[in-house]
Amino acid sequence: MTPALTAATARRVLAQLRHDPRTIALIVLLPCVLLGLIAWMFHGTPVLDQFGPILVALFPLIVMFLVTSVATLRERTSGTLERLMASPLGKGDFVGGYALAFGAVAVVQALVVTGFAVWVCGMEVRGSLGAVVLVAVLDAVLGAALGLAASAVARTEFQAVQMMPLIVFPQLVVCGLLMPRDEMPTVLEWISRAFPLTYGVDAMQRLAAGKSLGDVAGDVTVIVAFLAGAVVVGGLTLRRRTA
């Protein structure tokens, strides 16, 4: 892995995005629109304050997962990945470049979505707002990293899109959004602990209830570990030689 090549790859991915304003609009505006709809639907109730922070973590994760898995898959199907694998570019440079570029996009997205929730929709966070932004950013980057790892398994763009329900939906079911985790059947509660989204939702629930960054440090650590793990898996599943 060479820092200059990783950076060049990140710059190239960002340049591709810059040529595609529609995707940028989808990445940044779509979560805002969804959040706005929910704020409108539950206007006058405490629902937004309670669930808003969770959604701020959730929507970016899903959007970044999709964008990243399709983008890297396109690289496989177009032959550019094959060309890069025949070049001096390291596998770490490829994965790292994507993680950096989509990580940067994830930061912008999380900032805009959180800002929209607080200043436009009137979401009140009883805990630390800075911690909400941090968890939202990490979750968005996690989505990108999971998308990167998932695209290694998918062979076609159809399959890549199907990875979303496969990888994200089970996490949604047991993450504590539908039912508090301590009320779940024990087995499901155990399963939920193996999924990264659980920790993002848990952190956001605590922050919404008035906790500070220090109280969610454990959750944040686990999210970072999953994130690093997904990037490593993405790198390991990349092959210079294919059949």
Partner: protein
């Protein structure tokens, strides 16, 4: 031809490779001499792309050895010395021509100014700022070729670089290949168009994963008594079937 004494750009011995479940190459032997334009001719499905992928080190192989410029194919030190053009134009359609070249120039650590040089070589200077997706198929494949020329590699491996190009452009590209050869570059160019044989210094005819002929065009025509390479190919196949 004294071919065995000359240095080989590529030396393949007993190469066995599968694409998916299908064995495409089964114990293939061949040599690509250095400093020549070698045409790899054969119908679609002959195993040309699999061989090329093995030479540039991206094909999983089940057996045999592939030596490229004296090193095992795919060795890290070869990745800047071998230029590779895949069959489909493998460049980023959503970037401009220059953006593509700059990225790959960084990856290949090509000297600055190399992007302008290769743009001129493939005659695309006027499209430097155009998005590759807005170019025609032939222009796109020339961008892909330009990327392979970055860093002036010693060996160029080109998988059907002239497909879909008009005759004038095809002639210009073959002229370019000749000039590159004169500058000391070795070229292996695959094609399923037999009439491109006359532009090659040497021919490797492939069919069904095997080399059916390794000769110059003149030798081939003399040996088979055919009037052109297409008929020579047919004669060789029929001879082999007997």
């Amino acid at each position: 031809m004294g071919n065995n004494q000359a240095a080989a750009a590529v030396d393949v011995v007993g190469l066995t490779a599968r694409r998916g479940a299908h064995t495409v190459l089964d114990g293939l032997d061949l040599r690509v001499p250095a400093g020549e334009v070698v045409g790899l001719l054969g119908p679609s499905g002959a195993g040309k792309t699999t061989l090329i992928r093995a030479i540039v080190g991206v094909q999983e192989v089940q057996g045999g050895t592939v030596a490229v410029l004296g090193r095992p194919a795919g060795a890290p030190e070869l990745r800047r010395r071998v230029g590779y053009v895949t069959q489909a134009p493998s460049v980023y359609a959503d970037l401009t021509v220059t953006e593509n070249l700059r990225y790959f120039a960084t990856v290949l650590r090509a000297p600055s100014g190399d992007t302008d040089r290769v743009l001129e070589q493939v005659d695309l200077v006027r499209y430097a700022r155009t998005r590759v997706g807005d170019l025609s198929g032939g222009e796109r494949s020339r961008v892909s070729l330009a990327v392979a020329l970055l860093g002036a590699p010693e060996l160029l491996v080109l998988d059907e670089p002239t497909v879909g190009l008009d005759p004038v452009l095809r002639r210009d590209l073959w002229d370019l290949f000749g000039r590159l050869r004169d500058d000391g570059t070795s070229l292996l160019v695959s094609s399923h168009v037999m009439d491109e044989a006359s532009r090659c210094d040497r021919l490797l005819l492939m069919r069904g994963g095997a080399v059916v002929a390794d000769a110059t065009e003149a030798e081939l025509l003399e040996r088979t008594g055919a009037e052109d390479v297409e008929h020579a190919f047919l004669a060789l196949v029929e001879e082999g079937a007997r």
